[in-house]
């Protein structure tokens, strides 16, 4: 029992709470969901082995699943395409401002607001006939579109609300990135005659690559797995236009009691997230991950 000495046991004992937590709340659920993805299980009766049937059904017989995947990638892509540049602009503007802390606090507020409250407020703002946005457009003689009721516009509206919610979070990360850039680079550039545009494009942006990579990956993963806003704001409608895969899985599991198939959908989604994340890492590898670490 030479291995059973203080040097071996003590670290394990210190790590035990974390290990137990990880086993109970991560490894067991992940393993169990993989197990039931190969079973037919309604959670009320014993699982019945189903082989790859759940995966085959989703990939070959369920057009709704593909539609929700498209919606999911549109949502995740939209939040990144609009949210990250916006966070860059806002954070850069605030870095030049005298009241940075005040601005950051204001922009952080949506992050700590309850999602149900956020959804209800935006429902009022985006209402077709009486919403604040359409009433504002009416004042300048513009038509009032159905922001949440027109299937062609509803996803855009949901993306914009999510971008508004996430802006403070993204902005803070970019601000931290901006503050980590050594001022001597800017001084040297100014001495060499660079104007503010050159400084932003040639110094700030390249040096923010690690932060941008981090934002890209975390925003992508958040966007892919997010559904709370759609659940409260649009319930996936109209016409399924905001029904994302996570919401589809949620209904599949807890409304239809198809927990095996919902788990299979989760693993397909995981595989897609994994592939896209690898691509992102590869694209930003140079000056990205290594620099961030």
């Amino acid at each position: 029992m030479r291995w059973l000495n203080t040097r071996t046991i003590t670290p394990l004992l210190f790590m035990a709470p974390v290990l137990v937590f990880a086993i109970v709340f991560f490894f067991l659920p992940v393993g169990f969901s993989l197990y039931i993805s190969f079973h037919k299980w309604d959670s009320l009766s014993p699982p019945e082995f189903y082989g790859f049937t759940n995966y085959v059904y989703l990939l070959s017989k369920d057009p709704q699943f593909y539609r929700t995947l498209v919606n999911t990638f549109v949502f995740a892509g939209g939040t990144i395409a609009i949210g990250i540049p916006l966070a860059l602009v806002v954070a850069y503007s605030f870095s030049q401002s005298r009241f940075q802390t005040v601005w950051r606090s204001i922009y952080w507020l949506p992050m700590i607001t309850n999602i149900v409250a956020v959804a209800f407020i935006w429902k009022f703002v985006l209402n077709d006939a009486y919403g604040m946005l359409n009433r504002g457009l009416a004042l300048v003689g513009l038509p009032g579109p159905g922001w949440l009721t027109n299937p062609s516009l509803s996803m855009f509206s949901v993306i914009m609300v999510f971008v508004w919610m996430q802006l403070g979070h993204n902005m803070l990360l970019v601000s931290a990135g901006l503050q980590s850039i050594d001022d001597t680079y800017y001084e040297a550039a100014r001495i060499d005659g660079a104007h503010s545009g050159n400084i932003f494009w040639d110094i700030t942006l390249p040096l923010l690559k690690p932060t941008i990579l981090f934002l890209l990956i975390t925003n992508f993963i958040t966007g892919i797995s997010y559904f709370a806003l759609m659940m409260v704001l649009t319930e996936g409608g109209p016409a399924g236009s905001t029904n994302v895969t996570s919401l589809y899985m949620y209904n599949m599991a807890f409304s239809d009691l198809r927990l095996g198939r919902a788990s299979a959908a989760a693993y397909i989604l995981f595989a897609l997230i994994f592939i896209v994340t690898l691509i992102q890492l590869r694209l930003f590898r140079r000056g990205g991950v290594e620099a961030h670490n």
Binding site: N134, A138, S255
Partner: protein, 425 residues
């Protein structure tokens, strides 16, 4: 210590010891029946009083009430069964029953209870509680769809009666439409959506009214590509194309005068009365669902039912309690369940409670709903194994037709293909 004191002390000790020994014995004899419902505190008050009365008259029975929101109810059943803490009695939506029966989660009632249900409840409601020919519970709240219209809005446009046919509905609807400066409809002639219930249930109700059920008798195929189904959806879509309604107009806006007509269930009476406090009877009217000449008319109903969990260790006591809760104490009086439903303005499948509700069912709002049930024209919502999933699929395609992204025929053909795949599983 004197002798008397010693005797007294010994006596007290003996009594205390006896009491201490007796407590576990009594506790062991007490049976707890847990009942889960989705009703809120105000709705459930009458039945909570009945629980107390039952406990008093049945020593050894303790009743625990669990109130769970409707949205979380099925999940609660699932989670509690996984955790081994299932309630003994549930008040469930009829479309959940097939899944629960398939999973053997519902207990089969004793034969005498089944006979009692069949003898004392309207046929349509017994049908909603029947899966594969077996009755699984006691019908409770009954919801029926009818046309609800705003009398004042129609009167302003010169109409003093509700539409009887779809052509009349279109004519009346077109006459009452109001738009704001942006061209957005502020008062629609009609409204559908945006929930599953407000999209699919009106569609089902219109199919029944026009003589074709949404599914065949054994739920192995849909009738969604039938001429009736395509006609019904085409009629709906015409309301959008003619500007009588829009995707921005919803059933919920009826209460504020946002729409002149909608297909709504009777349980919405309470909400409408709470909002339209002034001159309700002269504002809100109810009529049978408009249908084409030569078709039978009718609508859809759905029901909730009391059911007992198959793992309950107090099943006989649970069924006895349920029968007591659903039996009037005397002729002409309401049962406990009936009193609760009457307070909510809801309908019941119980023939005794329906008779006892009397005046509350003969007012102008309730009469068309009651008549639909009594006439047998209100038919049961399909009891498919995956009805919730099927309705979500159908909603998506119905909404696509409303929005004009698919034609009614294409929408229903696509819906039929997807739903058929679900039925064949």
């Amino acid at each position: 210590m004197s002798l008397n004191s010693k005797v007294l002390l010994h006596s007290i000790s003996a009594v205390a010891l006896s009491a201490a020994l007796a407590v576990p014995a009594i506790a062991q004899d007490t049976k707890t029946i847990t009942i889960a419902t989705h009703y809120n505190q105000e709705n459930i008050e009458p039945i909570l009083a009945c629980y107390t009365e039952y406990e008093a008259s049945h020593p050894g029975i303790k009743i625990e009430s669990q109130q769970v929101s409707y949205a979380d109810f099925l999940q609660t059943i699932v989670t509690s069964r996984v955790g081994g803490t299932s309630p003994d009695i549930y008040n469930i939506y009829s479309i959940w029953a097939p899944q629960l029966v398939k999973a053997q989660a519902l207990a089969v009632p004793p034969a005498d209870i089944t006979d009692w249900i069949k003898a004392n409840y309207a046929e349509g409601t017994v049908g909603a509680a029947t899966i594969g020919g077996q009755v699984y519970g006691i019908p409770t709240e009954l919801s029926v769809y009818q046309l609800v219209y705003n009398k004042k809005i129609l009167a302003e446009a010169g109409f003093d009666h509700p539409p009887a046919t779809w052509a009349e509905l279109e004519e009346m609807g077109a006459a009452v439409v109001k738009k704001n400066d942006q061209g957005v409809i502020t008062t629609a002639g009609f409204a559908f959506g945006p929930t599953v219930a407000n999209a699919v249930h009106p569609f089902y109700a219109l199919m029944y009214a026009n003589g074709t059920p949404p599914f065949n008798a054994d739920y192995t195929a849909t009738n969604l590509t039938s001429p009736t189904a395509i006609k019904v959806l085409t009629d709906m879509v015409e309301l959008y194309q003619k500007g009588i309604t829009s995707v921005g107009n919803e059933v919920g806006q009826f209460v504020a005068g946002g729409s002149a007509m909608a297909i709504m269930a009777n349980w919405q009476e309470g909400g409408l009365k709470a909002a339209i406090t002034d001159d309700f009877d002269n504002t809100v009217g109810v009529a049978p669902i408009p249908h084409d000449a030569g078709t039978p008319g009718g609508t859809m109903l759905y029901s909730f039912l009391w059911a007992v969990d198959s793992t309950s260790d107090v099943q006989p006591e649970a069924w006895e309690l349920l029968k007591w809760l659903n039996t009037p104490a005397a002729d002409g009086t309401l049962s406990c369940t009936g009193a609760m439903l009457n307070g909510m303005g809801a309908l019941t499948g119980s023939t005794a409670d329906t008779a006892a509700m009397g005046d509350s069912l003969t007012d102008a709002f309730s009469t068309p709903y009651v008549e639909a049930v009594a006439s047998g024209l209100a038919l049961t919502q399909p009891n498919n194994l995956q009805e919730a999933q099927i309705e979500r699929i159908l909603r998506t395609y119905i909404e696509q037709a409303w929005a004009g992204t698919l034609t009614p025929t294409d929408a229903l053909t696509a819906a039929d293909a997807e739903i058929q795949a679900v039925l064949e599983e």
